[in-house]
Assembly symmetry: C2
Homo-oligomer: 192 residues x 2
Amino acid sequence: MGRWEPGARERLVVAAVDLFTEQGYDATTVAQIAERAGVTKSTFFRHFPDKRELLVAGQETLSRLLAEGIAEAPAGVSPLEAVAAGLERASGAMGPVNRELGPRLKAAVAASAELQERDALKSVGLAAAMTAALVERGVPGPTAAVAGELGVLAFKRGFAQWSEGDRSAQDDFAGYALAALDELRAASAALG
Amino acid sequence: MGRWEPGARERLVVAAVDLFTEQGYDATTVAQIAERAGVTKSTFFRHFPDKRELLVAGQETLSRLLAEGIAEAPAGVSPLEAVAAGLERASGAMGPVNRELGPRLKAAVAASAELQERDALKSVGLAAAMTAALVERGVPGPTAAVAGELGVLAFKRGFAQWSEGDRSAQDDFAGYALAALDELRAASAALG
């Protein structure tokens, strides 16, 4: 088996989520994940440091895309319009595999305290990336912090609706995330 | 040494934070924490399941107080006024020891990936507790979710200012948390 294996990373994620769903996170080993994906253990470790990181594999990419989209939004747009640009950019990393794995991933996280912690840190990291990118644009700290949290809520709510809805529709993640952001924007007006 | 030891829980927390600061979280054992606090290891385990939980010891109490304050806020107040009532209620659990430990706790968390994850889950848990209490009052889901996130931001920003500011002032946590919530409310108006 050569060093370069097309799709190995994606196959590892699918295999892991399947095994976590079938037999639980704690009972699943790296060796089992590699075997199910049809790769060697050393291929696993070229892609991921351990089985836990595998489930938040996209975090760095997402953080980078969200920050880039915010940074490159036109001058003068509102903080939430900049967040919307970040979500649109991040949508590029959310493909059919992400969508299909969503519900199983959710079940695996719900069943494991360790994965819940890692998942919580992912949310905090995404909020921090958006907040920092907004501050960089000159948005005051408290406004940037609120906008960053709304961005994460929109991402999570949009992802839930996208991955649990009609997957045959082939519509992309961006529409769901932007609709969720709009809903949260309207909800904010009712805070009092 | 009797089974009932007044202040053992608080002494354990202080001892742990001191040791984490002096020698790092990973290098600190339960035995060392117990010795520094002047209690036995079994006393430690009567209070905490492990050294990590010790640092988020107040989470359940805080969640309960936040939810109670929100539930008992007068009928007809806005979602953010209900969150303010929750923060005031939770302030009862934030005493001088919490205030004094704040900066060292922050340093310990910053230095340990494991503690960062646990701390992130604590934030998610507090937000969930507030959101659920607001939904229980009849606040629509998206508004409750935003208000819950603002409550956590207010808690964290208020705590940072309270514990890093002039500790001789003897003013209580509530004032800082409510000021932070007011600031976030004003910031929300500038979201666009």
